[in-house]
Subunit: 246 residues, 2 copies
């Protein structure tokens, strides 16, 4: 195993940050690494809002689920799928021509572009000794969240990412057995046995992490999650922003 | 700059592979690194189909745009957003209960999960001296493509990824100036000036890469792309597979 793979295998999400600042140089190195990720046909259909204003982080944290670490981390990055820049850059060249920025295909392209760039940035950050955690809560009150950041049409926050020096070292969270996610030549199995094994492993892990207070197996946690009517505003919100209208 | 950041900054997509095989050990290291990427609430809502059968690669290549490198690369990975495993794992626990695997929110979660895992895998592969290229063409004839891989409902191929030893060393493709994608505390600008600069840079790069045959600036390429009615079947296909019905 080389150093890079060792780094990847040791990822843990960080939810407690020291007050050591992140330098401008570090931030630029992290973003530059993000920019070098693959992008569909070079569209680069994403933008990043680096939030460092305490007041703004406080407001965004309230909208995203009130996690303290959004306020505590020195830099809160908001990763946005962005077809607005593309549209604006090409408007003058597309006069009187139909364009398809509103297709579900382009919505996927922009969302994936944002995710690939973000994951590169996450790894660059961890290689510098920084920690990160992804924040899906940016989609909780996504309309207000977007307003605070003044996001135009054809831009939506896919997720946030806290960035800072770790002030904790959580255990490594075990993943599904590889055979549950890796198939050969065709979709081979429902992975019933693999999930059963994982239920045992994940229950032990959770029990250890909570000093015995919680040992709910993975599939029970997931059943609860799938039964929650979470963020059902997304479809209307995205269509309202000009995404995936067809 | 450390070795990991140096690796990230030197990414180029590889479209020509030697016939040196990828070992099972390497494949497992790449997938294991993918599995350690962040995942929304630990749902791990993705699956990977590793295609090594020549016949199947040939068939998939025909459906994905006929790129020779899909057939030539020793392993073709198809990264799928997968809510099927989640649904099946929790069905028995959710009897008589409404569930929301069909929400746009869960569609985003699964798509992002697949992308984060894939990008980790890409970096692990490159750290081992392998090369990769993402293949959006898996969405060209997505219904037939899914049939060949026997993908069930609530699973869709987000992109493919060729994996193998590089037999070329393309130049580094310049990205948009950082100021075009990085904003501070709010969405600050339309990036008109930055795009103008990039048009010059990308035109020079393309001219060099094509020995002067093509120097179309980025915004012109993008205008052409946005005007193409590409993959307009995606919305219907995804809804048919049980995704983003609400």
């Amino acid at each position: 195993m080389n150093d890079t793979i060792s780094l990847l295998m040791n990822h843990r999400s960080i939810r407690k940050y020291s007050n050591q600042p992140v330098s401008e140089e570090q931030l630029r190195a992290v973003v530059a690494a993000g920019q070098m990720a693959s992008t569909s046909s070079n569209v680069q259909a994403y933008s990043i809002i680096a939030v460092t204003s305490q007041e703004k982080k406080q407001r965004l944290a309230e909208l995203a689920g009130n996690q303290a670490y959004i306020v505590e981390c020195p830099v809160f990055l908001v990763w946005c799928a962005d077809l607005f820049r593309l549209k604006k850059s090409t408007d003058a060249l597309s006069a009187d021509q139909e364009t398809y920025e509103d297709s579900t295909e382009n919505f996927i392209v922009a969302t994936v572009d944002a995710a690939l760039a973000a994951q590169n940035a996450a790894i660059a950050a961890e290689s510098l000794g920084l920690g990160i955690v992804y924040i899906g809560g940016v989609r909780n009150a996504i309309a207000e969240f977007s307003e605070v950041l003044e996001l135009p049409e054809l831009v939506y926050p896919v997720f946030g990412m806290c960035l800072g020096y770790p002030d904790q070292k959580p255990g490594l969270r075990p993943r599904l057995p590889m055979e549950a996610v890796l198939h050969r030549d065709r979709y081979e199995r429902e992975a019933v046995e693999e999930v059963k094994n994982y239920d045992r492993i994940s229950s032990e892990y959770l029990s250890k992490r909570t000093q015995g207070k919680n040992n709910t197996p993975w599939s029970e946690l997931m059943a609860k999650r799938l039964a929650e009517p979470v963020r059902l505003h997304m479809k209307d919100f995205l269509e309202g922003k000009g995404f995936m209208r067809r």
